[in-house]
């Protein structure tokens, strides 16, 4: 099965929740040094629930489509639910068989989102391996 099916290309070319939030209170930037992908995510959290999300990305189709599909999933989710998400959950949301060599592309957005929440809760931030 082709990982670049039309749905992925569509999300890459027209990502959902793309663009920074108006006055972001919570933001995080993550960089995948192995390929140069960069993502900035803004979250609006109210009553421990994600109310809105916005992001700007310079990355490959897999990292942008992952963040786009993930952003749809995250709206109205409790932060506690978001913090338990791992690599396999993003793969399920993506719905295409991405090889493990692209794990950083898959996880870039989730890592940024979780670290925003953790930072806001004054907890230690996570690294790639924590999400595998």
């Amino acid at each position: 099965m082709d990982i670049y099916e039309q749905n992925i290309i569509d999300h890459y070319q027209n990502p959902h929740h793309h663009g920074r939030l108006a006055e972001p209170k919570l933001s995080s930037e993550e960089i995948n040094r192995s390929c140069g992908d960069k993502i900035i995510v803004d979250l609006q959290i109210e009553d421990d629930e994600i109310k809105n999300i916005g992001f700007q990305a310079d990355g490959c189709a897999i990292s942008v489509a992952s963040m786009s599909l993930l952003s749809d999933y995250l709206v109205n989710k409790k932060t506690a639910e978001v913090l338990v998400l791992k690599y396999q959950d993003v793969l399920n949301i993506l719905g295409v068989p991405v090889a493990e060599r692209r794990y950083k592309c898959v996880l870039l957005g989730l890592l940024a989102v979780q670290n925003i929440i953790l930072k806001a809760e004054n907890k230690p931030e996570r690294i790639w391996d924590d999400l595998m």
Partner: protein, 403 residues
Amino acid sequence: MSVRKNFPILKTKINGHDLVYFDNAATTQKPQAMIDALSEFYQKYNANVHRSLNPLADLATQKYEKTRQAVADFLSAQKNEIIFTRNTTEGINLVAKTFARSFLKSGDVVLLSVAEHHSNIVPWLQLKKEIGIELAYLPIDKNGYLDIEQFKIMLTDKVKFISIQAASNVLGSIHDYQTILKLAKAKNITTLLDAAQIVSHVGLDVKELACDFLVFSAHKMFGPTGVGVIYGRKELLQMMPAFLGGGDMIEQVLKDNFTTNAIPHKFEAGTPNIADVVAFQSSLEFLQNLTWENIQKEEKELTDYLWQEMQKLDFIDIYGKNLLNKHLPIISFNLKNAHAHDVAEILGEQGIIVRAGQHCTQVLHDTLGVSATVRASLAFYNTKKEIDILIKALKEIYQKFKV
């Protein structure tokens, strides 16, 4: 081409596709002769070198030292000017952490270039933190070659060490390193030539080049992984302190002092990578039998065809220029609308092995203003037919990602 039959991996299939190996700048494939030599060493000659007084150890030592002589001949150096390391990275680190740390002082300038591999930047950044040297970066010109006019301007009295690549692992440009080394020599500046990329394409004569240090890795020239080479001018090697401490690098060890062994052993602490060093000799022999003349003729044809066909594609950006007889069979590029990693992924699934990313050259990518590139790097065993396969695949990828 009949030379392909010497490289068994070229018959490998990936997802049912013929392997098109275009990642030779990362590591080259290995001839059967080297694979056999490696296996033969473990089957017949395995023993530790330079120590036990027994006939098996003698054989192993002779074979290990025979490669050292072969490398010395290959570079027109003396045998004791050749040090075995793990790789080019370790070679540059050794020079930075022994020679440069001992003989440079705060405020001295080490001249690098913006095109250097991280292995020729980070050891110098470490030294900058440690003893306060300053770094200066030679720019590239509009064609992707080290800017010689700028070099002349930057060659001030503060420059005490020059560490520079002979060719770019990204742009494929073969720089005018001869002129750089000559001008440095005239000003008595110590030089290190990073020959990692050029060593499998061009003959090198350290006496003619008059460089002080030259480093490369065996695995980028059809040899085994885990073997690096430093050529160091004898007088410098003798005045440098040892690098790692341990067995073989010492003459005598007392409770409160030690004296070092003679060069080159002073820099080879502990049991070296004996089997791979021994096997490396057959890679050198293989190259010698092929002759530089044949290699260069084949590679020039491949380089020109690759660039000609790639330049026909109106949907790609190419970095650098293929100047006549001054280019390796390398091309770095990006497709419009498709990210480098996606391009490499799709090519890879079809058996076309390329590299995507920054190729350990973040400073160069920042200079080029791109976050990642796709790189195809060829060797003499590649074919025009394989280039056609790449071109066809790129057209299909473009169609897929077209907005």
